[in-house]
Amino acid sequence: MTIGIGGWGARRKPMSLVREICRSNLKDLTLVSYGGPDIGLLSSCKKIRKLIFGFVSLDLIPLDSHFRNARQSGELPDVEEIDEGMLQWGLRAAGMNLPFLPTRVGIGTDVLKNNPHIKFVESPYDDKEKLVAMPAIKLDVALLHVNESDEKGNTLIFGPDPFFDDLFARAASKTFVSTEKLVDSTSFDKEKVANYNRFERNLVSGIIPDEGGAHPTACNPSYGIDLDHLKEYSKSAKTFDEYQEKYLFVDEATYKKNVGGIKSITSIPLTKF
């Protein structure tokens, strides 16, 4: 199964859904992500068979120790490491029902050497330029975290950057969205919808109300990145049992309690970059 995870680095990741995958018997997953602690956790839980990615970073901590561990120990040899723009292109192609989108990105680099399945195409016009045909990245499932959603799947993302969540939703057969607040859409107005509604409700298959669901990543304007937690998480790469015991072998309600409660999550100051 191929799962795409929205957000970017340590920002607006659907972490409670990721933790549920860690708790589940799902395995051998192909993951697609602008990677952060979602990828780190899933690699330490040995859920990943293949990773399609451009980077894995915790933003405030440049590298993710769990992902590094998995790569350096040889547990995660199957990676499709591509330019983050190629990742966007692959998702976009899937969303538009195209087999590929042309680009120059990747030419002259080991991205193409390491991914021989990515082919070239020649421009049919007079320029005859040789271009990379970035193949569509089709997802079985996309997982996203938003600020508000109604029961029909009309969602609002208030954060400063919507990232590529809309492309993940369009590339997927099914999209599941965790939301800070489940609201009645009579509270929406034209301005809100015009600015913050990034994709249509027909793309959304399920909604999970979950305040604090992005923790320890940021969900502006409600809370920033929990740097203290990310430090604890980073340290746990080599002694993962203890972290699992406290945060993964428990249900989400206990997780939230163990990180200090929902009030402490929503009082984490917004991150300055």
Partner: protein
């Protein structure tokens, strides 16, 4: 000229000059020193530069690092827009690769055997696209043979001068020892100046491949104006002192 200054301050002042003649483009300094350098460039050399707050907005003036001041926002620059801008070419970034070689290939992906790297780094991020779309200057805080490698970088994350159909746009290479570019014969690395704190011998000993010498002049030292802006406005808490061990 000021009496005393650090290597970081020499680097920031020289780095700021790379954006001088760029006109109205997006300047991206990745990492602490390049970021301070963009601010200095905006204040002293090129007021038309566009710069981001590191999140999703353009700001009209650099805000002091680590002080928490709210920047004045005058534009929007989400990651999606960054791709639109960079593929058009209207950007000049300054980046810090983990390895660089004689063809100007950069590596930020991994060190060692690709299937099981000795050291897993960030991943290629946007380097492949950046390297063929817009100019990139390079800042190296610890000039050594581990970074300026003999032979090829372990994972080619950006286009080099050995490619058939494309050519990288490399600006200046600014290190803790000297200033370089890749404008030597057949795009060889070329020494432009040596910092007052370093020597040609030290540069040779710490570079894993041959380079041309255009000049062995001393790098221009920071002026009082430059230092005042860096110390009082851009980095009042002296975060820059942590970047180069000095």
């Amino acid at each position: 000229m000021a009496d005393q200054f650090t290597i970081s301050e020499i680097c920031i002042c020289e780095a700021a000059k790379v954006w001088k003649d760029d006109g109205e483009i997006l300047a991206t300094g990745i990492g602490l020193l390049p970021r301070i350098a963009v601010g200095l460039a905006k204040k002293l050399h090129n007021p038309d530069l566009m710069m981001t707050d590191g999140e999703a907005f353009l700001i009209d003036q650099p805000h002091p690092l680590g002080v928490g001041a709210e920047p004045c926002v005058d534009g929007y620059m989400t990651y999606s827009r960054v791709f639109d801008v960079l593929w058009s070419g209207a950007r000049h970034a300054m980046v810090t690769p983990t390895q660089i070689d004689k063809y100007a290939h950069l590596n930020i992906s991994s060190i060692g055997n690709y299937a099981q790297p000795k050291v897993q780094l960030l991943g290629v991020r946007g380097f492949p696209g950046n390297s063929i779309s817009h100019r990139n200057s390079i800042f190296i805080p610890n000039h050594s043979k581990k970074i300026f490698v003999e032979g090829s970088v372990d994972m080619v994350s950006s286009v080099g001068f050995d490619a058939d159909d494309v050519e990288p746009l490399i600006g200046k290479v600014i290190t803790n020892l000297g200033i370089f570019d890749y404008q030597g014969n057949k795009n060889t690395l070329r020494l432009l100046s040596i910092h007052s704190t370093s020597s040609l011998e030290e540069i040779r000993d710490n570079t894993g491949f041959d380079f041309e010498i255009f000049s062995t002049d001393e790098t221009t030292n920071p002026t009082k104006d430059e230092l005042d802006i860096i110390r009082n406005e851009l980095d009042p808490n002296n975060l820059r002192s942590s970047v180069i061990g000095e």
